[in-house]
């Protein structure tokens, strides 16, 4: 087992997903199984290999620093679960 129960709860907290004890038990073996399987990559010596960043050499383009979009606050908040006067409403954060 490469991940234990406490690790499952820790990463679920990091991922902001609530999980039950039963789910944690199932995930412990599933995640361990997947991580044990990907461990076969350790067979490869990649010390002198560059990580892949793109398919073909391509220079990142720059654009003029100017406003090209905006003034659509109503559209932006239209799908919000809760909004008030073009603000997203969330539970109280600061006491």
């Amino acid at each position: 087992m490469s991940v234990d129960r406490a690790t499952v709860f820790r990463i679920a907290r990091l991922a902001r997903i609530a999980i039950t004890d039963e789910e944690a038990e199932r995930l412990e073996s599933e995640l361990s199984g997947i991580l044990d399987w990907v461990a076969q990559l350790d067979e490869l010596d990649t010390a002198d290999v560059e990580p892949m960043t793109r398919v073909e050499a391509m220079t990142m383009k720059m654009r003029k620093d100017e406003v090209t979009d905006g003034f659509c606050a109503t559209d932006i908040v239209k799908n919000a679960p809760q909004e008030d006067d073009h603000y997203f409403v969330v539970p109280k954060i600061v006491e």
Partner: protein, 494 residues
């Protein structure tokens, strides 16, 4: 009217130009077919008949004025991963089930500009994570094909299972799809359709719900190689809104269809001969080699030594990028919100209720491999392995023009057969995932039937931005195979 749904895009285009039928008639025939079939197949998650008829009327007007676009009046299905303005877009996830975008993805905008007509949104695995279309919040898609003498439901492949099922069952003339690890080609192979994953950067990713951004690429599912070339021509463009979109001219892909393969060298990678591969797949592969040789191509054995590492490195890269991309679903700006006692529990409850089991599994794997202290051991290592996989292909392409492989290690499996074990499901993508890791184009072409009477596909892999060779070789296989088999219509009687 029913035979209007049986046309290829190329033939429908001719019929529309010759005024043999109108765009409205063509669309109506498809709307009727969807109405009769969708309860049984579950290919569409949203039907938009009014919008379809409005667009078809506009197409008829443009045809009358002699202003027809490249896809004028052609009714298409759209995978529900493409954002469509004012039309619900869900990625087939509960977390987005009421999301109505106020913008249009670049790919679909290109299709509408070419005159295409939308029939509605197609089912897929939740956030495109799956190989059987069994993870959708809207339920399984059923493959129109069945094993001979059996009426047990088969999966249509995934994640683009709605696209493949709809094209195979004549519920659209073509469909958009996306491919992160095989999600266009594997469903195409399972349904006897043509599925193309273009080179990374050929189609804009802007407005497509993101899964793994360094792998995701849009492409078409169609009933012929020519139709695939026609659709790609309309979907592809350079898009300043996607920094990874290639600033290259879009060639006349259709011109490549029908060019002979004489003089081409086709590579046969020995690493794709895997243990447990169905014997009929091996036989089909040999048949494909024979077809291309008979037509004047030279066949050459090649080696892609890092093939076996593609799938494990994919299951680091894809979940890592998914965990970052899916962080945006937090119950604040759009999508589902479940209340909690504070903001943190609101996030946790929203994501626990909004995501399905496979999505959670991948987000958690991704979170783990990106967490403090593990980045180098997992994500960085996997990106280095990608370089090795890409290098294998670069070296192979010094001596060959294209590579021929089976698309999948086995034909379509039954619903529920592999959903218990994530690793077993992942192995379905063993022949397709290498192409995504290297960013290359790949096409799956139906080439024969399994012993069970279900379709099998051959895959052609090409050099970056050389989809034209895929269309040449793909068409030669299509022509030699003469694949005319169609699933028997049981669904509209159900």
């Amino acid at each position: 009217m029913t035979d209007l749904t049986d046309l290829t895009i190329a033939d429908a285009r001719k019929g529309l130009a010759a005024k043999s039928f109108s765009a409205v008639e063509l669309t109506e025939a498809h709307l009727a077919a969807i109405k009769a079939a969708n309860r049984a197949l579950n290919a569409y998650v949203l039907e938009t008949p009014e919008r379809a008829l409005d667009m078809a009327k506009a197409s008829d007007a443009r045809i009358a004025k002699g202003e027809a676009g490249a896809l004028e009046g052609i009714p298409l299905g759209i995978k529900d991963l493409f954002c469509t303005k004012d039309v619900r877009t869900t990625a087939c996830s509960h977390i987005l089930d009421r999301f109505i975008p106020h913008y249009e993805s670049t790919v679909t905008a290109n299709l509408w500009a070419a005159g295409a007509v939308t029939l509605g949104k197609l089912n897929n695995d939740e956030f495109a994570m799956g190989s059987s279309n069994e993870t959708s919040f809207y339920g399984d898609v059923v493959n129109p094909w069945r094993r001979e003498g059996s009426d047990a439901p088969l999966v249509p492949g995934g994640s683009s299972g709605g696209s493949s099922a709809a094209v195979a069952a004549r519920l659209c003339l073509g469909a958009t799809a996306t491919d992160t690890g095989g999600s266009i080609r594997q469903p195409a192979a399972f349904t006897g359709t043509v599925g193309l994953k273009p080179t990374y950067g050929r189609c804009s990713r802007w407005g497509i719900v993101a899964f793994a951004s360094s792998l995701d690429q849009a492409g078409p599912v169609t009933r012929s190689v020519r139709d695939s070339a026609i659709m790609l021509g309309a979907m592809a463009s350079h898009d300043p809104k996607d920094a990874t979109s290639a600033d290259l001219p879009v060639p006349d892909f259709e011109a490549a269809v029908g060019q002979d393969v004489k003089g081409l060298t086709i590579g046969i990678p020995k690493e794709y001969r895997v243990e447990g591969m169905a014997p009929e797949i091996e036989a089909l592969w040999q048949q494909g080699i024979a077809w291309l040789t008979e037509r004047g191509a030279t066949v050459k054995d090649i080696s892609l030594p890092h093939t076996k590492y593609a799938l494990p490195s994919y299951y680091i890269v894809a979940p890592a990028e998914a965990s970052s991309n899916l962080a945006r679903y937090d119950g604040v700006r759009y999508g589902l919100r479940e209340p909690g006692k504070d903001v943190l529990s609101m996030y946790e409850n929203t994501r626990e209720s909004g995501f399905g089991a496979e999505v959670k599994r991948r987000v958690l794997i991704g979170t783990y491999v990106l967490s403090a202290g593990y980045y180098d051991a997992y994500y960085l290592k996997a990106q280095k392995v990608r370089t090795l996989i890409k290098r294998d292909f670069d070296q192979a392409f010094e001596g060959v023009d294209a590579i021929l492989t089976p698309t999948t290690p086995a034909p379509a499996f039954a619903a529920g057969e592999k959903s218990g074990d994530p690793l077993e499901m992942y192995l379905n993508d063993i022949f397709t995932v290498t192409v995504n890791m290297a960013g290359l184009p790949g096409i799956s072409v139906p080439a024969g039937l399994s012993l069970e009477g279900t379709p099998l596909g051959l895959q052609v892999i090409g050099r970056a931005f050389d989809e034209e060779t895929l269309f040449r070789v793909g068409h030669a296989i299509e022509d030699a195979a003469g694949f005319m088999a169609k699933p028997q219509d049981w669904w509209s009687k159900a």
